[in-house]
Symmetry: C2
Subunit: 432 residues, 2 copies
């Protein structure tokens, strides 16, 4: 595609927007995430000599002259990016990110931007649901089951943004400054001559309120051994079903031993639906470790995200463009999302308008998209993860409460401005 | 965990096996993949000074002396690995890979090995289902929707192993030598002043049987424009529904124009169930591009994979170990999988036995696990991807036909050898 633009001498400035077309049936909102990584990708994007060599060795590329190769060798991102701040709650069709750049660059970067933003948004959203369902700390435990090693790191980052208190992925802790947590694996307990030996060895090395995994062999006996192992036991992890019953028994045993401060961490293929049941049944669980369901977003393992051309600028003339294909029709023009709040500061409705139309006249209204990159450079330092995470927590309190119910589909009002609707109608007429 | 082993002076050799506990309800077999990447990880695994610095800055690590840090700084993988050749069909509980190594190393590597092997196995399996359903070429189109940028590359590799003929991910083409394919994006068509301009520009630059995307605005008109654009049109891509109807109309138009050699590529959120319907209805589709469903394995987005300790060797004494926790109990001891074939060479049944028990006496039996790494080094060069892919294709023809039906659950007989059953009973008794 890039080669044809160059060879055809058709190189306008293009405006692309990244958004999610529809929410999965089990999602009432999305937590936008991955933006910092997307910007880092844009800033460092180059074609290496190896990559160029491979590309121009392809028979399909043979018709292209050295001019195209030379242009490719000089490519870097020189455009502008508007985006919602990372951690912003967004809904279907709301641009998460907009790229305005020479069309060769803007087109080329589609795959990377979609892959980075979609996955982290999916995981951050899942984390927000889990944390809400739990009503207590949730730790991301999923790297083992993540879609590859790199995804494990991104998932840890996104999960922290979505509200998890930390991760078991030590490398993600180092790279992103996320608090790290962990106990032992069953295999670790099994490696010692006995469970008693394993607990004793652990508590000797980490005497500061150790947390011990008690279900490798049998939970009641494991609990008693953990209690016997260390006077200032920090807590226990239960990784087996039936969690509600086991947790109650373990709690009784801990309390009876005078360890009422010792915590119970629950894990083992948990999701927001099971956690909702456990919370409803008041299972005495102090925190949850969630892995597979979180890093794969198992009940909604894909988002219908798109990166669509919305306008073309040629000779200072900006023209909105549109796609008409059934079920995938797009809205033309560079957009802004205005979020209208209630007097109490809650989300009331969103209006998707044109980026250059006047700000709606209501009070309590916020534009979501901001300029984050100019001439290929970030306009500000990346935000700290704690800032992003706090933004999510704040916005989640402002969401209409029905949207938090993990078992029920609830809509939020998002409408299009008069000006955007008018341009859309006009584009459709022209295309037809 | 590693620190406690070292500090406690408990450092036996450990034997870990990686396997999938149960198959998802929509999977009748698995295509083992990711082994080459797992071995590459083991060969290069080290802790960098940065990583060590971070780790020992953690308050939890404060109790550990400099001896542990010094040991960590010298860690590398020195063990042995047995594995099934990449692309082998496997079933639940069959070891895909076994690590025999000093326990600190073997334990540490759990997360990486599981993440690498599980994701690629999941995608290769999904690809095999898609290719079987299609009965014609399938191209991996999913990088945009992959769980992050790195996962897109792994997915392309795994999809090719599973039977896809290539990928739209050019970087995966370069890294793994996978054939690359692609047409244009809708946005690319939209970027030109008109569809006619876009088609003409493309065909001028790539005159060798160009494939054009015809559904940006309206399929019938797009088809006629593609036909008009280039006398030797290679084909068209349709990315909209209803595919069966659109494909029939497009085929008629192409044939009428004398372009009976022009191919129809179909794409657009396809999966093996839709493709089965299209194939059943004899839709005139020549090849499929599949993205989201493939790279997320959407109907089974996680595999219940595990990396479990099965034996410990201390002072030349090898002891099998076992986990008893309900629903997650393991079988002890290092294992071999024997695959018994019918006289016609089809898979008849698998026997999971101990690796050191005598080879069963039947004819037509193959051991699946082979030594692939010794003393931390591969015993052979990595296999070429085409070899792995051919292995899958060959083994799929030997699978009982019922296992290929994507809409029906079918079992395959896998049993445990007498010797393994005996050791398991004995271990259970001892633990109890």
């Amino acid at each position: 595609m890039a080669a044809v633009y160059i060879a055809a001498g058709w190189e306008p400035v293009a405006v692309f927007e990244l958004f999610v077309r529809q929410l999965p049936s089990r999602r009432n909102y999305l937590v936008a995430a991955g933006l910092a990584d997307a910007l880092a990708y844009l800033e460092t994007w180059r074609l290496t000599p190896d990559e160029l060599g491979y590309l121009f060795d392809q028979p399909a590329m043979a018709p292209l002259g050295p001019a195209v190769r030379e242009r490719f060798s000089r490519l870097s991102f020189t455009g502008q990016v508007e985006a919602v701040p990372e951690g912003t709650i967004v809904f279907a069709n709301e641009p998460i990110l907009r790229v305005t750049a020479p069309i060769v660059e803007a087109q080329w970067l589609e795959t990377a931007l979609l892959a980075i933003v979609t996955y982290q948004t999916m995981v951050a959203t899942k984390a927000a649901r889990l944390v809400h369902a739990a009503g207590r700390p949730v730790i991301e435990f999923g790297s083992r089951r993540a879609p590859g090693l790199a995804a494990g790191g991104s998932a840890a980052r996104a999960a922290y943004i979505g509200g998890c208190i930390g991760t078991s992925n030590v490398e993600a802790g180092r790279r992103f400054g996320i608090p790290i947590y962990g106990t032992q694996a069953h295999s670790w307990i099994m490696a010692f001559p006995s469970e008693v030996d394993a607990f004793a060895a652990y508590a000797r090395v980490f005497p500061e309120r150790p947390v011990l995994l008690i279900d490798t062999y049998a939970v009641p006996r494991g609990t008693e051994r953990a209690i016997a192992a260390w006077r200032t036991l920090g807590g226990v992890r239960i990784d087996s079903q039936p969690l509600a019953i086991l947790a109650r028994d373990v709690r009784r045993r801990l309390d009876r031993a005078g360890l009422s401060a010792a915590k119970i961490v629950a894990s083992g293929n948990l999701d927001e639906y099971q956690i909702t049941e456990l919370a409803r049944g008041k299972a005495p669980i102090d925190s949850y470790g969630v892995g597979t369901a979180l890093v794969t977003s198992d009940d909604a393992p894909a988002l219908n995200s798109a990166y669509k051309l919305v306008a073309i600028r040629q000779h200072e003339q900006l023209s909105p463009v549109i796609k008409l294909a059934r079920a995938k029709a797009t809205y033309p023009g560079a957009k802004q999302v205005w979020r209208r709040l209630t007097p109490a500061g809650r989300f009331r409705e969103d209006i998707i308008g044109l980026s250059d139309e006047p700000r709606p006249a209501w009070r309590d209204i916020q534009p979501l998209l901001q300029t984050v990159m100019k001439d290929g450079r970030r306009v500000a330092e990346p935000e700290r993860l704690a800032v992003i995470s706090a933004r999510v927590a704040d916005q989640l309190t402002k969401l209409p409460p029905a949207l938090h119910i993990v078992t029920r589909r609830s809509g939020y009002r998002v409408r299009y401005s008069e000006a955007l609707s008018r341009v859309t109608r006009q584009c459709r007429r022209e295309q037809r």
